[in-house]
């Protein structure tokens, strides 16, 4: 029984990267030249989307969930991806020149940081598998939906009073898939999905940090700091809630889009950003607002700095970035319309400007005084921004910082219109999870500010110290 269920678990989890890997490799441009571990990591993230969207399609077609009903179309799609990837391999762009630091042997500080990362991932696995579902939201929302869909073999909210039927279903469907493959509801084992997501994202975060110009040491420092800037990310990776996947997908979208803004020819980065954005929308209700903000910041940059490029390339941009977003949004929208699952107005009321002071004070306390959750990350951000305020007009610092500020402004606006009367309690209940969504970008900005203030050796080899955001980049390989 024990061995069999473990085999089933491995097969269930393996389907996700198998579903996503061909698409991660077969992105337009030279994503195929990325290290294999990066492509598998990206494939795992894409696999979440592929498998859950196939389950949503089954529900739309009123086909009952079963292992074969989910796995067969997933594997078929993956095969098409493999064929496409093999077919297009001959036409792939030549490999970019590897930077010198990647060929250099790893030094002890880098090895130590890698060891810390391995420890963090191991900790996440141990904490996740140690206990079954125990967090309230994981039990009553995400885990509950997942279990109900598994038992019923369909997306059905019948006899489920008090549930939010308009919530996007990526996480519950992923949970339902694991239960389906296990043949039993085992919430302890199911949670393995989430530490794996953390591991994959850390690999991608390091990769994109290198793409954005950090040296190996600084990229590793940033990645380690992402997991140690308070306990939020690691803790959330053990709970089976939607906030951690949202953080991962939004982090991926943001990093890839910022990397693309440095080199508008890198269509594969734009496609990765689109995939991340589509997954963000498909993960949680507020994902749509996050994506609108991200797209708005990128649009502002293009309009102010690269208007000509925007005018000439907009069809390509719309296709590479917009198509994955539509794939992430439209099926769920259609399903909701067909099943009359309307969005209620539980979150929205009239604007209450009198709350602004309370909101700012409560948010500030949560950000700067909750050392257990956040360490000193927000304080560090503010200090570094003040220290480098003269340089903030440079696009490479301005737009990532703007992304953080715009998201924080969105949170303030959301609290201004929320229906909940106990605003302080409401903020304390939700703000930490909302802040988590922008943690990857925040750590990225901190890394960039340190690059500005620190010695030049922190920069990636081959990068100009004072390059602009639109300067062509050297794509590091073998990272």
């Amino acid at each position: 029984m024990g061995a069999l269920i473990l085999v089933r678990l491995i097969l269930a989890v393996s389907l996700l990267p198998i579903a996503g890997y061909p698409w991660a490799t077969w992105l337009p441009g030279h994503a195929g030249d990325w290290p294999r571990s990066v492509r598998w990591s990206l494939g795992y993230l894409i696999g979440w989307g592929v498998v859950t969207l196939i389950m949503l399609s089954l529900a739309l077609l009123q086909i009952k969930f079963s292992v074969s009903a989910v796995a067969a179309p997933t594997l078929l799609l993956a095969s098409l991806g493999w064929i496409g990837e093999r077919f297009s391999r001959g036409r792939a762009a030549p490999k970019a020149i590897a930077s010198q630091t990647d060929a250099a042997p790893w030094r002890w500080p880098e090895k130590s940081l890698l060891a810390v990362l391995i420890f963090q991932i191991g900790f996440s696995f141990a904490e996740a598998l140690y206990l079954p579902l125990h967090s309230s939201d994981a039990i009553r929302t995400w885990g509950y939906y997942g279990m109900a869909f598994h038992y019923r073999g369909a997306i059905s909210f019948e006899n489920m009073p008090g549930v939010h039927t308009y919530y996007p279903l990526l996480v519950p469907l992923a949970i339902a898939w694991v239960y389906l493959a296990l043949g039993v509801v085992n919430d302890g084992l199911m949670k393995v999905l989430f530490p794996l997501l953390l591991a994959a994202f850390l690999r991608l975060y390091y990769h994109f940090s290198r793409q954005l110009g950090a040296s190996r040491l600084v990229a590793l420092l940033g990645t380690v700091y992402l997991t140690t800037a308070g306990g939020m990310l690691l803790r959330q990776s053990t709970l089976a809630m939607a906030d951690m996947p949202l953080t991962v997908f939004y982090g991926l979208a943001s990093l890839a889009l910022l990397a693309w803004m440095r080199d508008l020819n890198s269509t594969h980065l734009l496609a990765v950003a689109g995939i991340g954005a589509g997954l963000t929308i498909w993960t949680k209700y507020e994902g749509l607002a996050h994506v609108v903000i991200l797209t708005g910041v990128a649009g502002l940059y293009l309009w102010l700095n690269r208007r000509r490029a925007l005018m000439t390339r907009w069809p390509k941009i719309a296709l590479a970035y917009g198509l994955p977003i539509l794939v992430g949004y439209v099926p769920w929208f259609v399903f909701r319309q067909l099943n009359n699952l309307s969005v209620d107005n539980e979150h929205v009321n009239l604007m209450r400007p009198d709350r602004l002071g309370t909101i700012l004070i409560t948010m500030g306390s949560a950000m700067f005084l909750d050392i257990v959750r956040w360490g000193v990350v927000w304080l560090l951000l503010v200090i570094l921004l003040i220290m480098s305020w003269r340089r903030l007009r440079q696009p490479r610092l301005l737009y990532p910082s703007l992304l953080i500020v715009a998201n924080l402004a969105f949170y303030v606006a959301a609290y201004l219109v929320t229906r909940h009367d106990e605003i302080v309690n409401q903020i304390n209940d939700t703000i930490h999870r909302l802040l988590l969504h922008i943690l990857p970008v925040t750590v990225l900005v901190i890394t960039r500010l340190i690059l500005e203030l620190g010695p030049s050796g922190f920069h990636n080899d081959g990068q100009q110290r004072d390059h602009d955001l639109n300067a062509p980049s050297v794509t590091p390989q073998g990272t």
Partner: protein
């Protein structure tokens, strides 16, 4: 030739610059490193605790002792629950029972279903074997839990009950 004032301000500017971009950064790095090391230390301690609990000859009760402050509660559970009942839960809300234990019954237990209530599960079958109630009034709120065909009840006084599942539950 600089005047004394120019010399002073120039010197101040130099030191200010150096302090800002040198020593302050080092100070900042020390604070961050301290915070990171503190967090890693806490995690090492937690991981050690997890490993010790998992390797403990009586895993389920090691887990209980870790989670529950009420040792009387732990002792009674240890005496009453069978050894094969391995996995135990602290219930913070009614949701666990409502949504997790009885999803097919569509049961609402009311808002008073709170902490100090345990669900015991057989780790091999992953099936619920016991419900431990440690708060007065909980049992009375639920018709389902009072169903004698599903549960065999043992009264421990002061509103404390242990229910053994005898019927068919998911």
């Amino acid at each position: 030739m600089l005047t004394w004032w120019e010399h002073l301000t120039s010197s101040w500017g130099y030191w200010r610059q150096k302090w800002l971009h040198g020593r302050f950064l080092v100070l900042l790095a020390c604070v961050v490193a301290l915070q990171v090391l503190g967090l890693l230390g806490v995690q090492v301690a937690r991981l050690t605790q997890i490993v010790q609990t998992v390797l403990s000859p009586d895993y389920s009760y090691a887990l209980m002792r870790e989670q529950y402050a009420d040792m009387e509660f732990v002792d009674i559970c240890q005496r009453v629950l069978p050894e094969e009942t391995r996995l135990l839960h602290l219930i913070e809300y009614d949701d666990y029972v409502k949504y997790h234990l009885f999803p097919r019954y569509n049961v609402s237990l009311g808002p008073q279903w709170r902490k100090d209530t345990l669900i015991a599960r057989d780790i091999k079958q992953h099936a619920v074997t016991h419900v431990v109630i440690w708060e007065p009034g909980i049992l009375e709120q639920s018709e389902l839990l009072q169903n004698e065909q599903l549960f065999e009840r043992t009264d421990y006084g002061k509103g404390r009950w242990i229910l053994r599942v005898t019927g068919s539950l998911p």
